[in-house]
Point group: C2
Chain length 201, copies 2
DNA sequence: GCCTCCATGTAACACGTTACATGATTCG
DNA sequence: CGAATCATGTAACGTGTTACATGGAGGC
């Protein structure tokens, strides 16, 4: 039920419509829990049925009209409980590792290009994260910062924006930075040691 | 369709029944693409319908009797193509990062314990990987090794067991080691900088 | 009027998770 | 014979993915 809680978090930061949520996800929470608008609509409906959110009654309940959602006390309570609950990490599922494993058995030309392509993707993502860090947490030490990863800067309210919240958001961002850095290091190592049989040229 | 290809890889290394595959997954391929026996049975059925594998005709097609599967040429071709194909990395989905993000908004006592618990889990996984590396790739430099992560040592055949395959399997294992090491480092950093408001004691 | 964008949604499918069902074999 | 274990399988559900449908508003 992680998506529901991701939505509650985003809605607490700022009441929004479904599409607005989708766009905000794309540049913040979606970095570590992406979602399409279909998923979000589906989940908003369930959250409403559960009494965790409701539509702001600024009239207009028709199709094609914006519906602004807001978190209800029950939703906040649910999120608070979930944030502290125990939950095992998801098992790793990485197709690239799997493909290397397959290549060990059947070979695989073109793998070098694929590794380079992934390396470029991870470098781009890392740059994006670093830019956010520079913009929102400039001058902060590790584990301390302001903002969460580039979202709602325009909103300008920062109602939960005390130092602790700031530190937590920076910590999350540093998680993303560390992950991308790991993949870049691993891919670089992989490309150095790749058997000639799997090289492209 | 990664699971299907994971199964093809495992079956090429050694023809097996569904349950045998499940058990082998648990200590090798399952480290980066876990699967339950239900998933594996479902997928084996599809692979058989697609003509990628077939049941060895050592009689016994009844329920409750072992069915030994083997990869057909079409299955090997499919796997070879997949191993070289392009495929974007899956987006990250990490609930712990999400919960830290939620805690930045609604708080969350008990998070410290949860971080410590995850730290312990990742340390255990790292030790498991390192033990495998020590056992199967002892003395090898980075990116070169023998074995893939602890499986089928008993099989003793290693038909694809040339130096390249060995190196690839070691590379995959080093991926796992690197990932666990990253999480350990990040969790340690997180625990150091955790706001007092989120600590358990 | 038409096209584009905004916004909400439906439908169908793929895949992972969990619980349970059923037959065969072995061991006490 | 009963219980445990091996082995295969069904069923139901949650969630992620992809494609498409519908209506309103603004611009040309």
């Amino acid at each position: 039920m992680s998506l529901a809680h991701a939505i509650l978090t985003a809605l607490l930061e700022k009441p929004s419509s479904g599409l607005e949520l989708t766009r905000r996800f794309d540049k913040s929470i979606g970095y570590f829990w992406p979602a399409t608008h279909q998923q979000i609509y589906r989940e908003l409906k369930k959250l409403e049925e559960a009494g965790h959110v409701h539509v702001l009654p600024a009239r207009r309940p028709e199709r094609g009209q914006k519906k602004e959602y807001e978190v209800l006390p029950a939703g906040r309570a649910e999120l608070t409980a979930w944030a502290s609950a125990g939950q095992d990490p998801r098992p790793v599922r990485d197709a690239l590792l799997l493909r290397l494993r397959a290549a060990a058995v059947v070979g695989g030309h073109g793998l070098e290009d694929e590794l380079r392509r992934h390396l470029a993707l991870h470098r781009r993502q890392l740059e994006e994260y670093l830019a956010i860090e520079e913009r929102d947490f400039a001058g902060d030490g590790r584990g301390d910062g302001r903002g969460d990863g580039g979202e709602e800067r325009d909103a300008g309210e920062e109602r939960g924006g005390d130092a602790d919240a700031r530190r937590l958001r920076h910590l999350v961002l540093r998680g993303g930075i560390g992950l991308e850095s790991f993949w870049i290091a691993w891919l670089t190592e992989a490309l150095e040691g790749l058997p000639d049989a799997l090289r492209t040229a």
